[in-house]
């Protein structure tokens, strides 16, 4: 079918179904907006993680009674471990200096601690900084090892909060997706009924199934795409007004950039169009005779 007649049929269908189509666009926009928000929260987790991950290490605290031989064997094992990138030894004096630097804003804490109170340590950089759990499990309890600490574990509460928000956003998006799906199903049912004479004639004169279904599927895809565009616009406004205009002044944590917004916007528009078209096709199988 040529594009002109196809668009004419599509336009007539959209005019006829304006109310239902508008409802689909609104629910799809809310659904995709939630999905986009969830994606941006995930992007924020990655942004924070990427920023901090190079500054985080796994620290192996050594017991005071570790022998030089035990320490040398431990260092050799760690260097031979494929998960470990570098191994650096800090004696009690160096650990104390670092402690004083980290707590310089709390002189009372520093005053109560001496170099002898802190353990010597091996500081590890990992090939994959997110794989600290393996090192903790593998070296805890070894001779001469007092404790193994993954500094990244300190960030878990923050990640849990952000993950919680994104899961909530995805859940709301799923609920809205169900509503959108039901509306699209209804839209196809109403539309197929209203256009039954037109589709019957198309079938009689030899139009292919793809031609008969195309206006319906395009109508759904266009509704989904429009919903996606509204959602994308909302994400852009949120980034400009809330994130850049508000949060950026209140936190020292890095915030996701515009690239995340563009990726999320593209994703919600593509998903909106494709999912709506797929739902429309599904409904057509039931409500339009092949």
């Amino acid at each position: 079918m040529r594009i002109g007649p196809l668009l004419a049929i599509l336009g007539a269908g959209l005019r006829r179904n304006l109310a239902v189509t508008s409802a689909v666009v609104i629910t799809a926009a809310v659904c995709l907006g939630m999905l986009g928000a969830g994606l941006l929260l995930r992007a924020e987790v990655h942004t924070i993680d990427g920023y901090l991950v190079d500054q985080l290490e796994v620290v192996v605290d050594l017991t005071d009674d570790i022998t030089p031989g035990q320490r040398a064997m431990l260092v050799d094992d760690l260097k031979a471990d494929p998960a470990v990138l570098t191994v650096r030894y800090e004696d009690k004096r160096q650990v104390y200096e670092r402690f004083k630097r980290d707590f310089q804003s709390s002189p009372d804490v520093v005053a109560g601690v001496g170099p002898a109170d802190l353990p010597a340590a091996l500081r590890l950089r990992l090939v994959d900084p997110r794989a600290g759990d393996q090192i903790v499990l593998g070296y805890t309890g070894r001779d001469g090892v007092e404790a193994v600490r993954d500094q990244r574990a300190l960030l878990r509460p923050l990640y849990q909060v952000l993950d919680g928000f994104s899961v909530a956003a995805f859940t709301l998006a799923a609920v809205q997706a169900a509503a959108s799906g039901a509306l699209i199903y209804t839209m196809i049912r109403v539309s197929a009924h209203a256009r039954r004479r037109e589709t019957a004639i198309m079938r009689l004169v030899g139009a292919t199934n793809a031609t008969i279904r195309a206006p319906f599927v395009l109508e759904c895809a266009l509704s989904g795409l429009t919903g996606g565009m509204v959602a994308a616009a909302a994400l852009v406004v949120c980034k400009a007004v809330l994130v850049d205009g508000h949060f950026a002044h209140q936190t020292t944590f890095p915030l996701f950039g515009w690239d995340a917004v563009w990726v999320s916007s593209g994703a919600v528009m593509a998903l909106g169009a494709l999912a709506a078209a797929a739902m429309g096709s599904l409904a057509l199988h039931r409500h339009l005779r092949a």
Partner: protein, 280 residues
């Protein structure tokens, strides 16, 4: 061109067959009337030829192709070779006359320049030149049926199926539609027309295939709407046997009596001279 061999068709919810052991052959360029009472299987036969239904048993072929064996994706190609006209016209009310006819070409992907050239030509052929921009509700019943015929014929099908095309029309208008179907037939298009209009059938004396309870009870070239056996049992209700002249028809042959009712005579008053000069 069209062959049915021992075709039986029973609808899934049906208790008795709509067609029973029907064997029929229609050659290219023929004009065939399908007659018989409501429920005799005329529309079922047309639906089989359109591949709207598949025969329960037997073989339906068009140009040698077994219609039941055609895969679903090829059915649209079959339907481009088979035009169809209905009693209720089935026009799109929101499209003009030209738009309705062009629709049949648009949806099968014909190029715009072809549509622009062919649509006015066909509208001229059916006598609707100058009415291209009218809407269906601005036309008479006869004109609407002409639009429907133009739409069915614009793709130059090899077969035109007409399911009671004059059922909603007065006798004079019906005669005009018949002349139009004659003109379509003269282009070489095979026409199969289901009808209850005895006057039109009697006026032309074409091939008549009569169905009763899904079976072919008469296949007669140059036949009339109703056959009449020796006892006159085929005479219409209210008419005494033997009222009309003629001899008993021999079913399945080319010789049969033509039985006319008073109503027929009324319709015939509008019929043109030369009735009975069919393609046969």
């Amino acid at each position: 061109m069209i062959r049915l061999d021992a075709v039986t068709m029973t609808y899934p919810a049906g208790t008795r067959p709509a067609l029973r052991d029907l064997t029929l052959r229609i050659d290219e360029g023929e004009f065939v009337y399908l007659v018989g009472p409501s429920g005799s299987g005329k529309s079922t036969l047309l639906r089989l030829l359109l591949r709207e239904e598949r025969a329960t048993s037997g073989l339906v072929t068009l140009d040698g192709a077994d219609l039941a064996a055609i895969p679903d994706r090829r059915v649209p190609l079959l339907r481009r070779a088979v035009g169809c006209v209905f009693q209720d016209f089935r026009l799109l009310p929101d499209r003009t006359v030209a738009g309705n006819v062009a629709f049949a070409l648009d949806v099968v992907g014909r190029p715009r320049h072809v549509v622009r050239a062919v649509v006015p030509e066909v509208l001229g052929l059916v006598g609707l030149a100058g009415k291209e921009n009218r809407y269906p509700d601005e036309l008479s019943g006869g004109e609407q049926q002409r639009v429907a015929i133009a739409r069915a014929f614009v793709g130059r099908p090899r077969v035109l199926l007409a399911d009671e095309p004059t059922g909603n029309l007065d006798p004079a208008t019906s005669e005009g539609i018949m002349r139009l179907l004659d003109a379509v037939n003269r282009t070489g298009t095979t026409v199969v027309m289901a009808t209850h209009n005895a006057g039109l059938v009697d006026a032309r004396r074409r091939r008549v295939v009569e169905l009763a309870d899904g079976a072919c009870v008469r296949d007669e070239r140059g036949g009339a709407y109703e056959a009449r056996d020796a006892g006159g049992t085929a005479a219409p209700p209210g008419q005494a046997p033997g009222h009309a002249p003629g001899h008993a028809p021999e079913r399945g042959t080319a010789t049969a009596a033509r039985v006319r009712t008073d109503e027929d005579a009324g319709d015939r008053a509008d019929a043109p001279a030369g009735a009975g000069d069919g393609v046969d």
